[in-house]
């Protein structure tokens, strides 16, 4: 019944690679691509050089990665950073995830596990590189000691250590055992970026092979010995409670083991197979107490947001000059309202977690964006101390922010507690994933500008009315009424600063929350803010009779990096060229997550039907760790951003989300996908994120192009069936 759980003794000296997975027949979070290793009968000796680097005596190097891999390629990028300083042979590199429990026991040597906000690389590049460099120094010191020469006369490259004066060489594997016994230096100098040989190269991802053969086990695919499967139905009205339920029929159905009321708002069925559990769950009659939330609909939410546009209870996120006075005395004033709907993350792998609970110990196998907070959630739900719990991270079948929330893990733990000693895999249906999402915040925006004699905005007021993610995130701390994160792309300074020079600028937020909780959704608040701002700038350019590119240029005199990506995208698209009737080019630009991104879209609208022909994108992330993966993120961001812009919308009726699957919540298909040409133009000197920024420019670039093609201005997303002619 129980998995045979080997005790993993985590010491600095010896580390049994792969043992942390602890599941027979399932290599979790491990990749051993070298067939010679698999063929080997002898288990090679393994030495942990430091927390980041394990070296086998057969020269294989295992690099540990604390951040999660959900498709964004951070895994490979972080390994490149460690390997660069380590000077190992790239062909010998494999990887593993340290567990949050190991991290806790060892004093967090891997730092933060959180994977979100496009921070995977940019907030850990320094200490992971240092980890690689320190390991290299230890390996060199071991070799030098063997040769009785000073370490500073030796160097390492491609896993080989050389004593320059004598020409003697040895390998990492040969000195690993000794290196593991040495004390690392207090500090180490990192390479100058101009000397990088692995960082900056378009190396292939390290997690591809098993993804094309179907061999990679995602959380949804796990099968532990003796495991039972659970399906769940939680109150579709968030905040509602379970009043009563009747599972008489379900209990008689094949394979059903148990009906479990979960929390105060859900019912789960545990069965031999997931399909049996789901079939039985569908027969359970549940009555809910939905309270006032059950009377909320989209019209009521819209009315609330509209009221916020004129409200006085606002938080000012950015104010310079005297915007109110300039607008009041405006000679030429332009005003427009925009809106952005609820969106669901909808990763392809629905939410799931597998939990094994006993009175003494609890373990979970879970696709999570934050192993450490998963461990906390697990321990809380398990009723055990954290050192009696462990989380085994898995590669995620998509995250997009959703898997930084662990409601599904808590549910799985509560179910597992009712069946001690038996692993329980809880898998949500797609419908559950839609109904019980935490959604992209819904907001509405009014932009008001006064134009000077040159037609440029001398004042701009951006009033946002809508939800706050921080408010949802920190209910325990007392709901903040001030949410600075609302102002991404509009902020006075920092990673999300407004790029345009406008002397009188005011961005304020009327917080209007709903019973549907908002959450971080790939791109977060930059998505709607950049859509609002970049669309409205085109409106202003039109009013001023100016070319949209030239208009932006005049507002970007102080922002050479922003201007550079904009100019490049426009130039690559052939901005200004003659286009047939019904075709148009559209621009968008932003600086978010510390990167500069721009897009120029070419579209045609024929008989009211939109065809997105091509998008030229330009990205300056400062340093480009893996250009081909940046290109993949940029291209993919258009799919996520345009799925939302064109199709994605969750509406609310009687307190519930109406769109329960991909038939009513469609995602972009390949037939709609424009060609994408991406230019990665790292200017150096800073570290920007790449997983999210481009999403923000997707909608405004395309919809500005639609305007150029048709004269139709789309101000409310999604485009869906709005007339384009």
């Amino acid at each position: 019944m129980l998995t045979s759980r080997r005790t993993v003794n985590i010491t600095r000296r010896r580390f049994v690679v792969g043992a942390a997975a602890g599941v027979s027949g399932v290599a979790i979070g491990m990749q051993l691509p070298l067939s010679k290793v698999l063929a080997s009968q002898q288990v090679p000796a393994t030495e942990e050089i430091n927390a980041w680097v394990v070296v086998h005596d057969d020269e294989r190097v295992v690099i540990r990665v604390a951040r999660s891999e959900m498709g964004q390629g951070t895994l490979t990028g972080l390994i490149q950073l460690v390997a660069e300083e380590l000077e190992c042979n790239w062909d010998n590199v494999s990887w593993e995830f340290p567990t949050p429990g190991q991290s806790l026991a060892r004093g967090r040597p891997w730092g933060n596990f959180m994977t979100g906000g496009s921070r995977g690389i940019r907030s850990s590049h320094d200490y992971v590189r240092e980890g690689g460099a320190l390991a290299r120094e230890l390996l060199i010191a071991a070799a030098a000691d063997n040769w009785s020469v000073p370490a500073n006369e030796c160097g390492a490259r491609d896993g080989v250590i050389t004593h320059h004066a004598s020409g003697r060489t040895t390998t990492f594997g040969a000195v690993a055992a000794k290196a593991a016994t040495l004390t690392p230096p207090d500090k180490v100098t990192l390479k100058d970026p101009k000397d990088w040989r692995i960082v900056g190269q378009p190396v292939a991802r390290l997690d591809t092979a098993e993804k094309v053969t179907g061999k990679l086990r995602y959380g949804a695919d796990l099968k532990l010995p003796g495991m039972l499967n659970a399906a769940i139905y939680a109150c579709p009205v968030h905040g509602g409670k379970r009043a009563s339920f009747d599972a008489t029929t379900a209990l008689t159905m094949p394979g059903v083991r148990k009906i479990v009321p979960v929390g105060d708002d859900a019912v789960a069925v545990v069965a031999d197979t997931w399909w049996q559990a789901k079939q039985a769950l569908d027969t359970v009659v549940i009555s809910w107490d939905t309270g006032t939330n059950g009377r909320v609909d989209s019209a009521a939410i819209e009315a609330m947001l509209k009221e916020g546009l004129d409200a006085d209870d606002v938080f000012i996120g950015h104010s310079r000059g005297d915007t109110a006075a300039k607008l009041a005395n405006a000679q030429q004033r332009v005003t427009a309202e925009y809106s952005y709907p609820f969106q669901n993350h909808a990763p392809m792998e629905p939410m799931n977690a597998t939990v094994l609970w006993t009175q003494e110990r609890c373990e979970a196998w879970v696709p999570t964006q934050n192993g450490e907070s998963a461990l906390e959630a697990l321990a809380d739900a398990a009723g055990l101390f954290r050192d009696k719990c462990e989380v085994h991270k898995l590669i995620l079948g998509g995250g997009f922010g959703r898997r930084a929330q662990h409601d599904f893990l808590v549910q799985a733990t509560e179910i597992a507690k009712t069946i001690p000693g038996t692993p329980i895999k809880l898998l949500w249906s797609r419908e559950e994933d839609q109904r019980r999402g935490v959604y992209h915040p819904i907001t509405r925006c009014r932009l008001s500008a006064s134009l000077n004699d040159e037609g440029l905005p001398e004042a701009l007021h951006v009033r946002i009315s809508g939800q706050s993610i921080l408010h949802a995130l920190r209910p325990a701390l007392g709901a903040p009424q001030k949410d600075p994160a609302v102002f991404q792309a509009l902020a006075p300074e920092g990673e999300h600063a407004l790029v345009y020079s406008i002397n009188n600028f005011l961005a304020d937020h009327a917080m209007r929350n709903t019973h549907l909780r908002p959450w971080f959704w790939r791109g977060v608040n930059s998505n709607q803010n950049v859509f609002y701002l970049e669309s409205f700038l085109d409106e202003l350019a039109k009013q001023a009779g100016a070319d949209p590119l030239d208009y932006r240029r005049r507002l970007l005199k102080d922002q050479p990096k922003a201007l550079a990506v904009l100019e490049r995208a426009a130039a690559n698209a052939g901005w200004g060229r003659e286009l047939p009737a019904g075709s148009g080019l559209g621009l968008a630009l932003c600086r978010v997550f510390d990167s500069y991104v721009a897009a120029c879209a070419e579209v045609s609208v024929v008989a009211g039907k939109l065809h997105m022909k091509k998008i030229w994108a330009a990205t300056d992330p400062g340093y480009a760790v893996n250009p081909q993966q940046i290109e993949a993120q940029v291209s993919g961001s258009f799919v996520y951003g345009l799925s939302a812009a064109l199709h994605g919308e969750l509406t609310v009726k009687e307190g519930q989300v109406e769109q329960q699957n991909f038939n009513t919540y469609p995602s972009l298909k390949i037939a709609e996908m424009p060609a994408v040409e991406t230019e990665v133009m790292p200017s150096g000197g800073f570290w920007g994120g790449v997983g999210e920024p481009t999403i923000a420019v997707a909608a405004p670039a395309v919809l500005n192009a639609v305007y150029a093609a048709t004269g139709v201005r789309i101000r409310h997303l999604p485009v869906k069936d709005q007339a384009l002619a």
Binding site: K211, V212, G214, W275, R430, Q628, V639, S667, L668
Partner: protein, 166 residues
């Protein structure tokens, strides 16, 4: 007891005949390369070949698959050497990868029917959802797989006329 032919093997399963083939594969046979994404044949993550035809098996009762040749991602090749898989590795197509077995099965079925598909063929036949947004490389990958397949076919045809050196 039903007998299924999966990846060339006869396999007996004791299961409710109404169970979707997807869940027979996943729950009963532990063949988890075929993914659950939506359960209503919208996303294509569960795409397999049924007598060579790309089929979304989340809505296909297992009884309807009896007597037909079922090919899953596990059986597309023994070692990841199918031209589509080769092309996918070459181009680093997957991101999260969860939709990719279904995407690959859909692409492989397209190529077996139309060895050199046009972009319009791809638009018409590849309707799988990928939330990471790998479409640019999926399209390039299908064209690349067509080229790999052609080279392989030419090499095979030419083999008898050349001395093969070890």
């Amino acid at each position: 007891m039903l007998t299924l032919v999966i990846n060339g093997d006869n396999i007996e399963v004791d299961v409710d005949p109404a169970t979707p083939l997807l869940w027979v594969l996943r729950d009963h046979l532990d063949m988890t390369g075929t993914k659950y994404g939506c359960g209503i044949a919208q996303c294509g993550a569960c795409t397999i070949h049924l007598d060579g035809v790309a089929t979304r098996c989340c809505v296909l009762p297992v009884s309807a698959a009896v007597g037909k040749a079922i090919t899953t991602i596990e059986g597309l090749s023994d070692d990841g050497s199918h031209p589509v898989q080769q092309a996918w590795v070459e181009l680093d197509t997957p991101q999260c990868g969860y939709c990719q077995p279904g995407m690959i099965m859909a692409a492989a079925a397209l190529l077996s029917e139309i060895p050199h598909p046009t972009d319009a063929d791809i638009d018409k036949r590849i309707t799988n959802i990928c939330r990471c947004g790998t479409f640019t490389r999926v399209r390039a990958g299908i064209h690349r797989a067509a080229a790999i397949h052609q080279v392989a076919a030419v090499t095979e045809a030419a083999a008898p006329f050349f001395e093969v050196k070890a």
